[in-house]
């Protein structure tokens, strides 16, 4: 399973095309792009550049919004979220690296809505894998794959950005 066919440039191109289509379909006007730390920001930085967005990228650290605080506690060295002054009424493109259970996105949406009420939120991820646990799913993805329960997608970066699949026993 380690020799994966996942190639960053191809995934990014697919995601970019899908995102362009979605922006037009959903009629996103002057969308604000927000990346979720850490992997999501790496992906967002690239898309932000490719799509020539002028407004700076928003950065979201969802550590304080996680639903597993009582089990794992607070991670030291959480970076502050950097969102623009107005979220109210904005069209938002939320970017993450991997969509798995959906819990990260739940946390990200809660944090965004604490800042204001956006008009629309579109979710774009590099990879959507199976294992959804809550009723959320991405609007755009670079690839959709099926993995065993003990397998994880690992992104390393920011330069060079690479991706591989690891089994949990290797990770330990």
């Amino acid at each position: 399973m380690n020799n994966t066919p996942l190639q960053i440039p191809a995934l990014l191109s697919t995601l970019e095309n899908s995102l362009i289509e979605t922006i037009s379909e959903r009629k996103l006007s002057n969308p604000l792009m927000i990346g979720i730390r850490t992997g999501g920001v790496w992906i967002a930085e690239r898309l932000h550049q490719r799509l020539n967005f002028e407004e700076p990228l928003g950065l979201l650290d969802i550590s304080f919004y996680r639903d597993d605080f009582s089990q794992i506690g607070v991670h030291p060295n959480v970076k502050p979220s950097q969102l623009p002054t107005t979220i109210e009424g904005r069209d938002i493109i939320l970017i993450d690296d991997v969509f798995y259970t959906g819990r990260t996105i739940r946390a990200a949406l809660n944090e965004i809505f604490d800042y204001g009420r956006p008009n629309q939120v579109v979710l774009a991820v590099l990879i959507e894998r199976d294992g959804r646990q809550i009723p959320l799913k991405p609007d755009c993805y670079g690839a959709r794959i099926s993995l065993e329960a003990n397998q994880r997608i690992k992104l390393t970066g920011p330069e060079p950005l690479s991706i591989y699949i690891q089994s949990m026993n290797e990770a330990a």
């Binding site: 550590s63 304080f64 919004y65 009582s70 506690g73 991670h75 060295n77 969102l83 604490d114 800042y115």
Partner: protein
Amino acid sequence: MTENLQLNSDGKLKHFLTIEGLDKALLTEILDTAESFAGMSEQQVKKVPLLRGKTIVNLFFENSTRTRTTFELAAIRLSADVINMNIATSATSKGESLLDTIRNLEAMFVDMFVVRHATSGAAHFIAQHTAPHVSVINAGDGQHSHPTQAMLDMFTIRQIKKEFAPLRVAIIGDILHSRVARSQILALNTLGAAEIRVIAPKTLLPAHVETLGVNVFHDLTEGLKDIDVVIMLRLQKERMTSALLPSESEYFKCFGLTPAKLKIAKPDAIVMHPGPINRGVEIDTRVADGPQSVILQQVSNGIAVRMAVMSMAMQARGNG
């Protein structure tokens, strides 16, 4: 006993009662976690849902403005429900009545007590007797310990000076009555500061103070040489039961920090004070408001450090 009482079976901080018995790794974890929360103050929304649904009682048997307010703000920013109880009490009514207070509050399904008490050991006492699911944070007990103040001071020092290893720190003034000084000395030694000096008249030093791992000076001019961090302490007149000083003006002349005295320390030395400050008694107004003073930065950092300790203790509770 003290050390074990503070930690759960996984070695996580369940109660925060004293710096004593906590190792460098744990103190550093508190500082790193506080760093995360300090970043939040840059955000437009300064509140996170970490402790939503948890109930925290600020149990203040002794007056406090800064400490109680920052504990309250810390709890609110973590989304906990917080109740402030200011209980004026005489020192003699400690034993049973304190326990009764605790039992009654426990019956209201409280998750955490933040305790300030004029009697040394009060927070320990509560931690020993409270229900297993309740965490206790010491917000100052008698002349014994004030661990969150010490940690916010350590946080402020690290923020500016980056590392503890090369630092020479002077703690000046009423060491005898200061729970803050005791906690600071323990924390600085654990975090590996190069030298800790206490500078005070003999009457304001506890007996055998040098056994805490400090160098003792009775002359401010001599003690301030090569110092990186100057910590001034408040003259605790309310705790002085005997004539320990000739007069306040005499004290200021010998131990008050003036701009001229501060020049003896390193040029980039910072000046700290846990507050409340007595201007013209232990510190000159020009120093308190001067460019080397980080006194207000200490107050801001108090919120982040208290958020860190509260969230760590709340999390460790479950596995106790």
